[in-house]
Each structure stands twice: as structure tokens, then as C-alpha cells.
Symmetry: D2
Subunit: 395 residues, 4 copies
Amino acid sequence: MTTKGLERTPVPRDKEDDYTRKAAAHRRAFAEQQTGAVLEHVAQYSFDPAQLPGDIENFMGVAQVPVGLTGPLRIEGEHARGNFYIPMATTEGTLVASYNRGMRLLTECGGVKTTVVKHSMQRSPVFELGDALQARTLGEWLDDHFSEIQHAAEATTSAGKLVEIRKYIIGPLLYLRFNYTTGDAAGQNMVGKATLAACLWIQTNHPNRPHFFLSGNIDTDKKHSQMNTIETRGKRVVAEATLSGDALKSIMGADAETLFHVRQISQAGAFMAGSSNNGAHSANGLTALFIATGQDVANVAESHAAIVYAQLLANGDYYWSITLPSLVVATYGGGTGLATQRECLDLLGCYGTGQADKFAEICAATVLAGEISLSSAIIRGDWVSSHDRLGRNRP
Amino acid sequence: MTTKGLERTPVPRDKEDDYTRKAAAHRRAFAEQQTGAVLEHVAQYSFDPAQLPGDIENFMGVAQVPVGLTGPLRIEGEHARGNFYIPMATTEGTLVASYNRGMRLLTECGGVKTTVVKHSMQRSPVFELGDALQARTLGEWLDDHFSEIQHAAEATTSAGKLVEIRKYIIGPLLYLRFNYTTGDAAGQNMVGKATLAACLWIQTNHPNRPHFFLSGNIDTDKKHSQMNTIETRGKRVVAEATLSGDALKSIMGADAETLFHVRQISQAGAFMAGSSNNGAHSANGLTALFIATGQDVANVAESHAAIVYAQLLANGDYYWSITLPSLVVATYGGGTGLATQRECLDLLGCYGTGQADKFAEICAATVLAGEISLSSAIIRGDWVSSHDRLGRNRP
Amino acid sequence: MTTKGLERTPVPRDKEDDYTRKAAAHRRAFAEQQTGAVLEHVAQYSFDPAQLPGDIENFMGVAQVPVGLTGPLRIEGEHARGNFYIPMATTEGTLVASYNRGMRLLTECGGVKTTVVKHSMQRSPVFELGDALQARTLGEWLDDHFSEIQHAAEATTSAGKLVEIRKYIIGPLLYLRFNYTTGDAAGQNMVGKATLAACLWIQTNHPNRPHFFLSGNIDTDKKHSQMNTIETRGKRVVAEATLSGDALKSIMGADAETLFHVRQISQAGAFMAGSSNNGAHSANGLTALFIATGQDVANVAESHAAIVYAQLLANGDYYWSITLPSLVVATYGGGTGLATQRECLDLLGCYGTGQADKFAEICAATVLAGEISLSSAIIRGDWVSSHDRLGRNRP
Amino acid sequence: MTTKGLERTPVPRDKEDDYTRKAAAHRRAFAEQQTGAVLEHVAQYSFDPAQLPGDIENFMGVAQVPVGLTGPLRIEGEHARGNFYIPMATTEGTLVASYNRGMRLLTECGGVKTTVVKHSMQRSPVFELGDALQARTLGEWLDDHFSEIQHAAEATTSAGKLVEIRKYIIGPLLYLRFNYTTGDAAGQNMVGKATLAACLWIQTNHPNRPHFFLSGNIDTDKKHSQMNTIETRGKRVVAEATLSGDALKSIMGADAETLFHVRQISQAGAFMAGSSNNGAHSANGLTALFIATGQDVANVAESHAAIVYAQLLANGDYYWSITLPSLVVATYGGGTGLATQRECLDLLGCYGTGQADKFAEICAATVLAGEISLSSAIIRGDWVSSHDRLGRNRP
């Protein structure tokens, strides 16, 4: 299946135009020849590779990931309002059915309230000084020159706005978080470019020409971190709902008292484990939505962090909220404009500019549906049997 | 784009057979009618929906995710040996190019050494007792009855082996991690079923009929946790390589001393941030590989955790290792058997039984390639310009 | 106050016998002469310095830390049973009064149930191998030779028993936690010595003479860590009580419903903050007890970690537990035998052998008293006014 | 040793004047009678109890904690400059000797550079709103009224200055960190009082009279948290030094290359463990200094967090820094004015106003001395034997 020799035969590229069906076919043929595999289905794509520059290199075909349709999910957000049908791309059996059940409950209980409470995308350069005093002093200089730095940063982008520069010193190192709002793009590249410009401005204008690296690893891009949970990365979004005790019982077979009792147990467990998320499984819903809609799916690493906050109300209803502190999503740029991805965004009325907060609200609402469904299954005890029925696909 | 009324119109299902092209078309038509979207490309899939039960519900079509071909990557692992061409499904521009560059360096330096150092998939039930003393006492009883519990658990599975039951008490709660090896499956469902059987055996045979929930949230499934990093979830895999200073300079434009210097900075940053990963961006490589090969992509949440350990050698070479402590992957079951997914596994010689460790090694080696490439770009300073050149796709 | 020159004048020592009143006086005179300070009260100690070897070097006098008497606290533990009067050494106003109030409530509600659920003191050497495969292989070899290693370790100590060796691999490094029970000593030195013997045995007997360092920093001694919270360091102790709603209201002015409501808020806050403790202020009670009783007070770093688990009961009572996962205490050795320290241990009936679990239970019960008192003050709103009344000491 | 009945006999208090030798004697007699213990040494204190109000309640005597004298430690800080003799109160054998050795090395290498890089003491109230949108809206209102809130807060204190209000939303909860500078006091009570005034102002002036609790548990007072490490609590202080390779070898018996090699190992270990501190044992030095100088010793919980950042220099020297991100100390108020405590502060020239930053610098420099000493012992391998020689005190 693999070549064993020491020779390195690189993947072929077409110097004229590498984004053609022909170039892709050439690479598939090369791969088949090198490995013995047959790439028949990978070759089945319905769009023109000419639209791929900026999304991928060495294109050879597609992964066809099945998409299931869920909903309706009633959302009463600031931006997302109405009943939504939500496409979820997954190969995990029961996932779609489980989320769908949670959506039904939420919808019957009047829907999910959603709010984006903060926007903050960042690049985190680090300046390396001679000692801690110089690091502190440079930090003060940055405060004094914020508006010029802001100007330098924002000159590189039409959508990005530099909101603040947060400072964190370790030894002689001044780590910074340049926090931006980024409009409808996720904005990682935008803020990288803007921050580079800002740092070059600093380096040019500060008398000591301080040295920097564009990332000191506290961004923390494509990685969960407590810092993201605390300080926000991308969007901080809340989904909340009040579930009637009756609906919980009839639709979920779960009673509110037991759910709340178990919530204490799962919270303590998450705290002990040092978990990124004291809820159940946000990553399932987010990943499925991300693949379907052309998000940068690797951002599930940051985006799956979550904090559930719930209360059992005096009338027996259950208030349930989930806060996603570092949801990184876009409705413009990246993979969002590709063939199936754009169609799935259209399904949500979320393609293009002015839609990112709406999409973020849909993500959070979807996650809440999954929380309710899985938590109910755990206390109901049919979790395993559902998976056994729906979730096994052995050849 | 969305229906605004309170009526709940559920997604149509075909009671006879819901896994047909017709049923999928029916759902697409429904979705189009409800939302006004057009689902043309989503409809373009090349496999028979009849193979989907167990992978998805409410199937309506596919996400076509572009796949790029990278490699060769020379791996000298226990299981993966040779030059590999690796399919990466992504919509993030520069990703494929960047990983490819890292692979070239690694290959020219003699390849990546890879080792799976631990297997441990778990389900974590919690027993709720009357007080802490009872919790401790039940824990001791479990020790005394381990072989019977093991028997009960393993009776439900051919592949799963119960290795140990770890005990963690909070108040009157006995949280357990039932740690298994699971063969070539990721095994979440397998261990759920086995652990349920084990808990039922305990409940039946212990004189007090202790009460349990099947998850106390310390598994921690689909969530990063420090517990996973410490104790392992899925596979703990190490990729390591010694890079010659000369190759680093010529291929990456980075010198080993600077890389190691900056490593100190990025390590301190990751530590301060409370990051899941003191490396650069494992999630990028893993996600692209996971989508291409039919993994449960939501497991990126756990799998992206990583610990880089590096040393600058006396001769100027650079020893670089990355340890993935909770890599959850499979080569059998789930989405691995689907059309494009299986082809991509075939490309790696990894489809089917007996291949999971090999595939895990390829994952780790790929991640290492990405680490080297991005880290070099950061110190070289052309990170932003590359993204500007390759990674922008604005309509 | 300080000498400004570059000369280094070392602190004088008496080569004959450095543990005398005369040697101490000599050092005080030296310090006074060097700095201009007057050390009058520091000189007032009532014991013979001859008993200090093994506790301190360069002895020059004492810190006189005020001790307050609290109690009675009714404890119904395994080892601690009865009404206890507890000495607390502190200079933080309101602390003694606040704990005392919590003790009153607990005692009137029937007392605190306490249980030591796990003993595990460790030293964590790290073996440095050539690659990850060698690290894994050495780990397997350790499993195969556990009883010999155990023998080597236990030969160095009468009290220490090696329970298990846990293995954690990063790259080519095999980190180990040698977990012991240590009788009535805290045992850090004991397990250091035993583990050194074990590692030397391994090094001598393994064909490759593997190289090790005695600490790889995962012990984690004198430091909080998630690993300690998960795996236990020292003793894992639970204190639990059921508080009647009426007593809460009459003694604390707090109602159980509000306490539980706010518990949800403080839990979510602690989780977001990445806190070592989702309770209120265990460090206050532990530190005061530790200073009074001759504990190694620096172990507050580990010992203050805690997990509160509570439930509001159907009858309106409040079940409240706190778990201290890494309580490091001793009733024998170290500072426990010194003059005032031993008297304070005697007050608790805890000096000497066979008392460590009893003392650990008293620690946990005391902590619980403080939790209840402070939590009630926060919801009652008189927290600030109490501090204003009792806790200000401005000259 | 303990009374066994259900009767609750409270500790006696003198209603006229509870801060007298007589009242203390009365309590000791009571304790002796209740428990059978003899409190002879506890009774030996040399100050007038009349100075204790605000520091303790139910005073009955003292803990006499041995103090060792270390130094000189050469510090070249902003505030601390010169050679210092440092009092350390401990009962852990070898501690004083070990720190002393590190101080010698640092002094011979030209001293420690120290800098306080940030001041930030906080109280963290939480406002509980009807939903997340209201929480966000209230947050915006706070921004708009910052100067009035600042005015209300600062009206309660002469020393405290409100620097910023940071906002962190979870569900409908608006958690705030009111960050202050607090002059020479640690300031917990000061900021509690000021924040209460601020919150009452908000409640009075906001049209909705929003409800709050004075702590939402993200302060995080007397608890380590990642949030403190990131955002600072108290003072963020850096100590740094460049150690000559020769001095390391001659004084410590350790070579710089090996120290740096092992640093990579201990950093990776700390990261895996989820430790509060990637260094060695800051808690030892801090606790000993805190007890000696009348600090609130429970703040070791927060203060022991640390980030070591080191580099091996091209010339073979070793740059070593340690950053204490949440050092909580005072030179005024609390226990600092008590008899022995004030004398020990005088020894450092640190008693009273205008001294807190100087004292913080001394703390950090002391910690660095301990890091070097212990790290060297670990690689030198005589760690256990030193403890065996100096650190055992068995009766």
C-alpha cells in the first residue's frame, strides 16, 4: 500500500493551472498508482475546481459526508428568529435523531433564546525584551499609542476593528492579545495580517525597535484553552430555554428534578476532570454543522468549550443555558462559498455578509438541543440501547 | 428563509425504507420548500443510501469536502512503515501546502518514528451512595470482584477487553473509569454497552443494589479534559523525529537554535493560557484526516490535545516529539466503510481490522509535519504572507 | 536597612552546636547589626533549640502567631468522633469567628460525617529513554518486576507501602507516579527515599541501565495540580453533613433554597475561572490549623484544592459535602513534635502514631464549617460589614 | 480527649474585654479541662493581647514557629536594592539551608533583578439577570457609567483605585472582576467594601434594580485559578537572573546544559499534570516568608502559582526567570503590625506604607533562590540524602 524505498516522489502539480478536473484526475491516478487504492467515489464532485484556490491545495476530489436534516428548531434570538431546519453532516449514528428529539422539545417549549454576548478574535504576538521592566515599560508605551496602533492594524482590513490590546507578562516577555471584531468572517487571517501590521508599526516607531514573534501561543488558535473560555475567542454565545416539566416527561421521558439532581453530579465530575465543558457533547452538534456549512472544522477544538448553567424553578420547570465562550464561525469567506456548503448555509438563511451572528445563534441553539437529548437519555437509561439500534454500522 | 409560525412541521421520513435516494430527495424537496434554498450539489452523491443505517438518520445528501493529497511522508513506526500519501479534507487554504512542506522535511531527515504507547477507551459511570464511606466500601468491593465484573463487561463484545476500573470519589459519589482496549474500533459504543452490562452486574450482585448513572461526565467523551491528557483516552501516540539543522535551514528557512529559543516562549505561553496543547495546531491536520477517512470528527475535541517535547542536540540537530494523549480513531465501523472514506483509508493501507494502530501512527506523524511547518513559518515571519497568497477565497 | 555593598557576609553558624540559645542570639545580633532592626519578640520562645535539628537551620527565634480557639465541632467520622475544640493560628480577623459559627451550625445539626477515602503519597521520577518505544517497553518491564521494585522501595521505610506505579509517557520520557501509603507521616521524604531506592534497583537490574531523574515534576509537591485533584496526593478526605433548613435560617440567616441557587452560580464561576476549588475558602481553615499543629504549611498549596458537592433535599434540608483530594498532613515527625504544635495536636487528641486519619478528618470537618459560614455570609450580604467590624487592624 | 456527649459547651468569651491575658488564660483553662491537654507553651507570648482585635477572635495563646535567617540575597530591583537577610518561619528541615544556598549563588552572580509588572486586586460580584441579553446590556451600561461607579467605589477607601471592570457572561449571569490597585495593603477587605458600594450604586441607579451577589467565585480568593495566573491577583512579580555556568558548577554542582535539558522535562511534566506552577516549590519559600512577616498565609493558595521561563545562553550562562502572577502580600494592616511579624518586616526594611512592592520583590527573589537550589539538587542527585541528613526529626 505504501512505497518502501527512500526515494521521495512528490505529488504532481500542474504548473499552468492546478485547479482543474484534469489536475485532480492526474493526482488521483498518481495516488492510485503509488498505493494501489482505487479512488472512484472521491472523484465524484459536482463543482468546478476553479473555485477552490484559497480553500485547498493539491485538490484531488472530495469526501462525501452524509448530511441529515433536523428540525424544526424554534429560535427566538436577536438575529435568528423562526423555525429552522438544520443540516448536520456526520457519520455517527443516532446523532441526528438525538438532536432532532431535543429540537422537538425545545420547539414545543416555545423555542430557544440566543444571544451573542461578545465578539473577540485575536492574534497574540509576543515581544521579547531585555528584562521584565522593559516588558512592562513597552506595555505602557502601547497604551499611550493605542490609537496609532489601532490605525496601523485597521488599515489592513475593511471588516476588522481592533478593540483592545491585553497584556500578559512572563519574565522579559510581553505577550499580547490583540482583540478584534471581524464582521462575518471568522477572521483568523484578517487579524493575523492586521496584527502583523500593528507590530511592524510598533517596531518601527518605538525607539528600541523591539523584537517580536507573531504568535506567543496564547491566541490559542485551533486549541482549547482556559484563556479562551475566560476571555472569549470568536464569539461568546448563549442559548437558553425554560423547559416545562411536563414536556420533559412526555417527550424525553425525563423528569426535571432528576435532571437537576444529575446535573450536580455531572458538574462535579467535569470540574474534577478539568474538562473544557461541563455539559454533555457540544462537539457533536458543532462538528456536524461545521462540516455541512463550510466552517473551518478544526475550530471545533476551541468551539466545543462550554459552560452549562441551569436552575430548577420553583414551578417545576427547568431553566437550561449553555454558553459557548469561543465559537469560531463564519458565513463569508473560507469554505462557506463552496457548492454544498453554501447550499446548507442557504438552508439556514445564513450565507454571506451580515449573517455571522445569526449563524452563531443557530449553532448555540443546536448545541442546547443536543444537551437536553443526551442528558435525558443518560438518566432514562436507554442511551446504550439507542446506540445499539441506530448507531452500529458493521460491514 | 425560515418559517415564522408556531406550527411544527417535522422532517418527512419514509416508514417503509428511509435509506433510499427517493427518501433523501423527498427531504431535500421539503427543505427547499420550507426555506427557499436550492439543494443541487447536496444531491450529488455517488453511493447507495442503503449503506447508511448506523451512520446517519434523515439523510438528504452530502457535503462535498475538497480533499488534497499530501506526501510522501516517510514513517518508521511500529505499524506504519514506508512513504505515505495522505488525503486531507479541508477548506482552509495553505493547510495542505503547509503540511506537505513539513512532510518533505521529515522525509528528507529520515522519517518519523511513531509509537502507540497506550490504549484506553472508557465509559465512566457514577454510583451514588448514601455517604462517602459507602462509596469507598463499594470501591473496595469492586476490587474484590474485578474478574466477575470483567467477565460481565466482556460478554457483550468480541473486541473489547476491560483492563482496569479506576476509582475517583467526590462526596458520596463513586465515579469510575472503566478502561478498555477496543481493537480497531474507536469503541465508544462498545465500551458503553460493556460498562452498562458491568454496572448491571454490580447492581444485581451487590447486596445494597447500588444506584448508578452510566456517565458521571469524567469520560470525557467529545470534550477535552486534563484527565484525558493524563490518563489517556483512545490511543496515546508519540511521533518523534530528529531534524538536521541543515535541512531545517534549507527546506524551512528556520534555524534550530531559533526554533528552540521560541519553543521556550510558546511553551510558557501555552502554560499560562491553560491550553490543551503546548504545540501549534494539531487540530488542523487531525480534522482534515478525520473528515477524509470517516472518523467521528467530533473527536477532534479530545484528539487535538498534545504535548510537544523537544531538545536541541549538541550537534545542532533538533529532536522534536509530539504526544497525542487522547487520539480517538478507528479503521472499522462508523463512517470508515462509506464510499470516499474507505477509499481514503485504502490510500493509507488502513481500512479494516488490524489497522487502527497503523492509522493512529499516521495521524501522529502528520501532526508532527504540521507542527514543524507552522513553527518555522512563525519564526520566518512569512506566515501572514502565505495565508494572504494561498488562504483567501473571497467571492 | 540593608547593606548596599557587594561584599557577602554570611549568616553566622556555630560549628560546635548550632542549635542553642546562644547560637540563636548570635544570629539575631548579627541580623540587628546588619539591618538596624530590633529582634525583641522574635527572641521570646519557650522551648529548647536542641529539639530543632531536622526542623530548621539557622534558627534565630520564633514567629508568634496568635491562636484562637473554636468549637465545639461535632464530628462523627471513622476516626474522629465527638466534640472537638480546634486551635486556629491566624492573623486574619473574622476567620475564627466565622469558622466558629459554622461549627455551631454543624454541631446543632448532628455533626459532620468524615471519611478518608484514599491514601496516596508519591514521588514521581522520570526515566529518559532513547525513544517512545523504549519508554513503553521499560514501562512493561516495570509491571513485570513490580514486586521486586516494591521490595526495594519498602526496604527503606517501616511505614511506607508502595501501592502502585502509574505510568505516563511523553515522547521518550516515562514519567512515573510511585504511589504509597505512609502511615502517620505526611511522607514526602519517606517516599523520596523509597523511590530513589526503587529507581536505583531498576537502573541496576534493567539491562539498559536506564537514566532517571528523581522528579519529573508530576508529583506535584507543594503545587496544586489537576493531577492531584484527580489522582489524590496525601489523603483524599470527605466531610459531609445534612443541614436542617430551620437551623440554617436561625443560626446563619440563610435559607437552603437560596444557598443552593447560589451554589449553581459559584460552581459555574469556579469552572470558568479554572479554579482549584469550586467551594469558598478551604485555605483559610487549613492554613490556620496547619500553623497551629506543626504541619508543613507550604502544603496548603496542594491541600486547598476541593470539590463541593451539594444537593437540596426534597424536605428542604441541605446536603453539603466537601472533598479534599490532596490533603497532606501528619501527626508524627516534622514540626508536629515542637512545643506549641504538639500541645495543639494534643488538644485534638491527635499527637503521635495512629492519629493521621483522625487529624485529616478534623481538617475536612473544619473546612466544611468555614464553607457554610462564608457562603451564608455572601448571600446574607453582611460579609463586608463583618470584616469591617472584626477584620481591620490599622495602627 | 474530646467530649462525647451531645451538649454543646461554647468557648468562653469575656464580654467586657476579650483581648486580655486573663481572657486568654480562661480559654486555655477551658480547653485543658475539656480535652485533657496541657497548654504550657501556647501560653508563652510576649505581646499585649490588646493589639489583637482585627487579627483574631477567641485568642488563647500563640504558635511558636521557628524562624531561620537566610541571606544575604543581593537584589537589584526597582524597590528592593541591596543585600537582604531574610527570615523564614518553617518546620521543614533543609528548607532554610536550601534557600540559603540558592541565595549565595544568586548573590555571587550579581544578584536578582525584580520587577512588579502589574497590580490588580479584585472582588468579583455577579449580577443575575433575566437572560443573557439583559446581562450583555447591563455590561454595556456599566461601561457607560464607569466613572460614576469608580467614584462610588473609591469613596470607601483612601488607598484603593478602581482600574477596570472586566465582564464575563455565563447564561444570564454577568460576572465581573472589579480590579483595583490597593497601595500597601493586600486589600481584600478594601476591595470588598469598595465593590459593595459600587454594586449598591449600580443597583440604585440602574432602572431595573439588578440583583447581585458580592462574589460569583471568580475572584478567586484563597484559591489558585488559571484566571489568576492569566489576569493577575494582587501583584504580578518577576524575578530574573543570569547565572554563570561556572558559578552553577562550583556552588551548585550542576551544569547549565543539564539544568536546561531537565527544564524541558519538568516543563512537559507540569503541563501534563495541569499544575499551577511549572517550577519547583515556590510555596516553600513564600510560606516561610509569609508566616514570619504576618501575611495572610492562606494566600499561599493563590501566591504559589508561578511560571518559570529560562534560556540557555550562547555563552553557556543560564538565564532564569520566575513570574509570580498572583502574589498577595501586604506591609501594612492585618498581621503585619504584630510583635514578631513587624520585627521580621523591619529586618527587610519593609514595615509600613510605601513598602509593599519592595516586599513583593523580596518574595520573588527568594522564590528564585529556592528554584535554583532544588532544581540543582534534583539533577545532582543528592536531594534525598540532604533530606535524610537535615530533614528528619523523629522523636
